[in-house]
Every structure is written in C-alpha cells, then in structure tokens.
Symmetry: C2
C-alpha cells in the first residue's frame, strides 16, 4: 500500500458516514488533501464541536446546542399544537414541506421492548405531562405506520386519556403522483381500508 497510515486512517474514519464506501472515502480524502485542506480543517473542527456540544432540547428532545431549541423557545409558534415525531430529521422534513406552526415532541424511536426501547427511552413520561399540562389542544402523531409505530401511537393515546387533548394521526396512503402499480401492497391495502367519502 502506498498510503501513509494517517491517510489510510482517514479513509477508514470517513466510512462511518452512511452511504460512504471505500472508493468514495478514498476520493473524498484525495480531494480534500489536494484541493481543499481549509474545508477539511473546518469540517474536522465543526465535527468535533458538534459531537461535543450538541445535546437534546430539554422540552422537545430534538437535537440542539442550546438548552431549549429555537422552536420551543419561539413565542411565535402555536403552543396549542403538538406534533409527535420519531426523529429530529422528521422535524426538518415537516418544516420544509408544510406550513405547520405548532411545536414538536421527539420520541427518538418507536416502542420496541425486544430492543430495549421502552416508554422511558422515548421520554413518554415527559410527553404525558405535556399532554396533561393544559396548554396543548391537539396532538398530531406523525409516526410511521409500522407495527411498532402503531403500538407507539396506541400507547400515546392511552397516555392522553383523561386530558382534553384531541389526538390526530397524519394520513397514510398512496403518495401523490404515485402510480398504483408501483405502490407496495401494504400501502395499497391501508389506502383501501382507509377510504373516505367524497
């Protein structure tokens, strides 16, 4: 091998990134070293900073470097709406695609007792307090319609019992522009079962 140990270590280290195989890791390393060391230095520094300083919002559990994330801290968001999502990345997707102006709660996963993911790991006690706190009027469950996701949604609807929160779940079915023949069977069956009057 022609590479120095450090060069090879950097190629290996880049493979922790999802979607990066040996060839592309090597291309990245040569590109940075030959053409863009400043960008590499900046990336290394920001990476270290981010791994050290980014934690979870005390209120909604999303990823943030602050104690309370910008959405939870914002006075202009509607505190009577609470959208429950699985991952911080779901917030980004919803913010980019919709005009939702309420707040969020991030579970960080789905109930899966066999994998050791129980109510505590998902912060469901915090969510229960929030639902019973009196501020939330509607809680929108934006949880994926898998078996575990559905179990999680049921658990949350039990949590909400006795509060005045109205629980809703985002619609699941055939995507817009989706050709029926290319939609998977589960989705199509779900869309049929969930048909509604015109």
């Amino acid at each position: 091998m022609s590479e120095s140990d450090l060069l090879q270590r950097l190629v290996e280290a880049l493979r922790c990134l999802p979607g990066v195989g040996p060839k592309s890791a090597q291309r990245m390393v040569f590109h940075l070293l030959e053409h863009d060391r400043d960008a590499g230095r900046y990336l290394g520094q920001v990476m270290l900073d981010a791994m050290e300083r980014i934690g979870h919002c005390r209120v909604c559990r999303t990823l943030t470097e602050r104690e309370i994330c910008s959405i939870c801290a914002s006075a202009s968001r509607d505190a009577s709406l609470l959208c429950v999502v699985e991952q911080p990345s779901d917030i980004t997707a919803i913010e980019q695609a919709t005009d939702y102006r309420g707040r969020y709660f991030v579970l960080g996963g789905r109930l899966s007792p066999l994998d050791g993911v129980g109510p505590e790991e998902l912060g469901l006690e915090t969510l229960r307090e929030r639902l019973h706190g009196g501020e939330v009027r509607e809680a929108i469950l934006a949880i994926s319609p898998t078996v575990e996701g559905t179990a999680t949604a049921h658990y949350i609807s039990d949590l909400a019992a006795g509060s005045r929160v109205s629980l809703t779940r985002i619609a699941h079915g055939v995507p817009l522009g989706g050709e029926l023949e290319f939609v998977d069977g589960g989705t199509l069956a779900h869309a049929f079962a969930g048909r509604h009057g015109l």
Copy 2:
C-alpha cells in the same frame, strides 16, 4: 428552521466532500449525533490531524505524513522502473490492480498553461534529474490520453532526451469486456489507430 446553528454548520461543512448533497449531509449528521458520536469525534480528530500533517513525499511527490513515502523508502521495490502518474490516487489504483513493483513519480496534474499549470507546478525539474540520475532504466507514463495528458507526455519525452531511459506509455483502447457499441468514439478511434499485428 429547527436546527441549531452548529448542527446546520456541520451539514454545510460536510458538503465539501465530493458527492455529498444537502440531503445526504443531513442524513450523515443525524446518524452521527444519534447513533455514533464516538465515530464522529474520531473522524473530526483524524481529519484535523491529516490536514495538518500529511504532506508530499520529497522523492515522488505523493501524499504521505512522512518525509519519504513507504514505496520510495522500501528497499524491495525495483528502482530501475519509474511509473509517472498524475495523481496519488493513481498509485493506489495501480498497486491494487497490477503486480508493478517499481517506483512512482506523481505530477499532481497535467500541463495546462492557461490554468497556470506549468513544468514547475508538476515538479518536472525533479523528474528530469531523476531520469538523468542513472538509476532509472524504464519510465512508464501512466498519464491519461487527453490533449493535455499527451502534451505532458511529449514534454517528458523531451526531458528524457540524452538519458539512457527507455520511455513507454501504458496502452489505451477498448476496455476489457467493453462492448464496442458502448465505447465512446474517441476511444474507439484511438484503438483503431493503435491496432497491432497478431
């Protein structure tokens, strides 16, 4: 935006990597923060180290953290063979695919006066000294057959004039297993012009 500033800075910083767009950068960041902070920390540290400490081999100009790279320093490589390549990554490709056991010289590009790449940028004076040093018996040009690559090859053959080095150039033509109908016209024309007796 729901992201903290630092999180967004990390997404942007990752886009310096070739082949990484906004979506995949975001996926990388969420993956590291939620599932693999140790790998992220290690990557950041190795990245900083590599950008600081990796330089060019004093003999062959490839990337290495040492003064002289492992191939140039190895006593078991044949010093009478010298392969001239454009990029350090070409060495990796040749090492992996062939049983070449000689040494290398890395130009770091091709002659391109309009882009400010002249003989000095490519270390051609060093190469001239090497060719006339008496140790090299055959110099193999593994330079891509573009207009600039061909000009560079010609320049090197001028450099070698008066030395006892025999210059060769790797074969260019239709790739093994390449269907003629899918090979680009330039390659096919080159392969025709370069036909040889059976």
